[in-house]
C-alpha cells in the first residue's frame, strides 16, 4: 500500500519533447509538493499545493507546469525539455504546510 506513488520511475527522452510525471498520495494529506534532486543530491522545492491551491512556486522555468485535479493528485508537466532538466523529481505530501513530508520513490528523468 504505497503512500506516495509517482510514475514513471524512469524516463529517457529527447530534448524538445514534452513529458508528464504523475503523482498520487493515499495518506489523506492536504499538501503536496514537487522537489528536484540534482546530481549532487541537493533537494530543492519546486512547487507546493495545499488543497489544490498553489502556495509555493519557486524560481522554476515556466516550462514546468504543475496541475492538481484534486488534493490527492499533483502532476508535473514539462514542456520543451532541456538537457539541464535531467534530474530526479520527487513528489511528496504532508498533512499541512511545514509538517513532516513523505516522499515518493522518485522519477529519474534523463534528457538526451
Amino acid at each position: 500500500d504505497t503512500a506516495v506513488s509517482q510514475t514513471p520511475k524512469y524516463l529517457v527522452t529527447q530534448m524538445g519533447n514534452d513529458k508528464s510525471i504523475k503523482c498520487e498520495q493515499n495518506l489523506g494529506h492536504d499538501t503536496m509538493y514537487w522537489y528536484k534532486q540534482d546530481s549532487k543530491k541537493f533537494l530543492k522545492i519546486m512547487f507546493s499545493y495545499n488543497n489544490k491551491e498553489l502556495i509555493i512556486n519557486e524560481t522554476v522555468p515556466n516550462r514546468f507546469s504543475p496541475k492538481s485535479p484534486d488534493k490527492a493528485h499533483l502532476n508535473l508537466h514539462i514542456n520543451s525539455l532541456e538537457l539541464g532538466d535531467s534530474a530526479v523529481y520527487f513528489c511528496a505530501s504532508s498533512p499541512y504546510p511545514g509538517n513532516t513530508i513523505y516522499f515518493g520513490e522518485g522519477s529519474w528523468l534523463t534528457v538526451v
Binding site: V4, Y33, Y35, K40, K41, F42, L43, K44, I45, S48, I55, I56, F90, A92, P97, G98, N99, T100, I101, Y102, F103, G104, E105, G106
Partner: protein, 112 residues
C-alpha cells in the same frame, strides 16, 4: 540566506560504532527540524523529528540533538549497521509558507 548546511559531506564508520551527523541551520525562526534517510534509488524517508522547544529526542538507535544557541542539529546513530548506509538530510521549516528546506546531505558508509 535560509540554507541548511552540513559540516561533513561524507562519513565512513566501522560497523558497530556510533555515528554522528551534523547540520548547521541559519534561520533562527525555524521551529521544526527533521532528519531524513535516503537509500540508493529511493526517496528520502523520515527518521526522527524535533521541535524547537526540545533539546533532545530519542528514537530506536537514533537520537537528535538541537542546540538553538549555535543553531546546530545532530543525528546520532548507535551501533551503526550496514543497513544504515545512506545519504542523510536535515531539514528545517525555514522557507516561505513554512515549507521544509533541506541541507546538502551527508553520505554515511558503514564498513563491515
Amino acid at each position: 540566506g535560509e540554507n541548511v548546511g552540513l559540516h561533513l559531506p561524507t562519513l565512513s564508520v566501522q560497523e558497530g560504532d556510533n555515528s554522528i551527523i551534523n547540520c548547521a541551520y541559519s534561520n533562527s525562526a525555524s521551529d521544526y527540524f527533521i532528519w531524513y534517510k535516503q537509500e540508493s534509488g529511493k526517496g528520502p524517508q523520515f527518521i526522527i523529528d524535533i521541535r524547537s522547544n526540545m533539546d533532545k529526542r530519542q528514537g530506536q538507535r537514533v537520537t537528535v540533538l538541537l542546540n538553538k544557541t549555535v543553531k546546530h542539529l545532530s543525528l546520532q546513530i548507535a551501533a551503526t549497521q550496514p543497513g544504515d548506509s545512506a545519504v542523510y538530510f536535515c531539514a528545517e521549516t525555514g522557507g516561505s509558507q513554512g515549507n521544509l528546506i533541506f541541507g546538502k546531505g551527508t553520505k554515511l558508509s558503514v564498513k563491515p
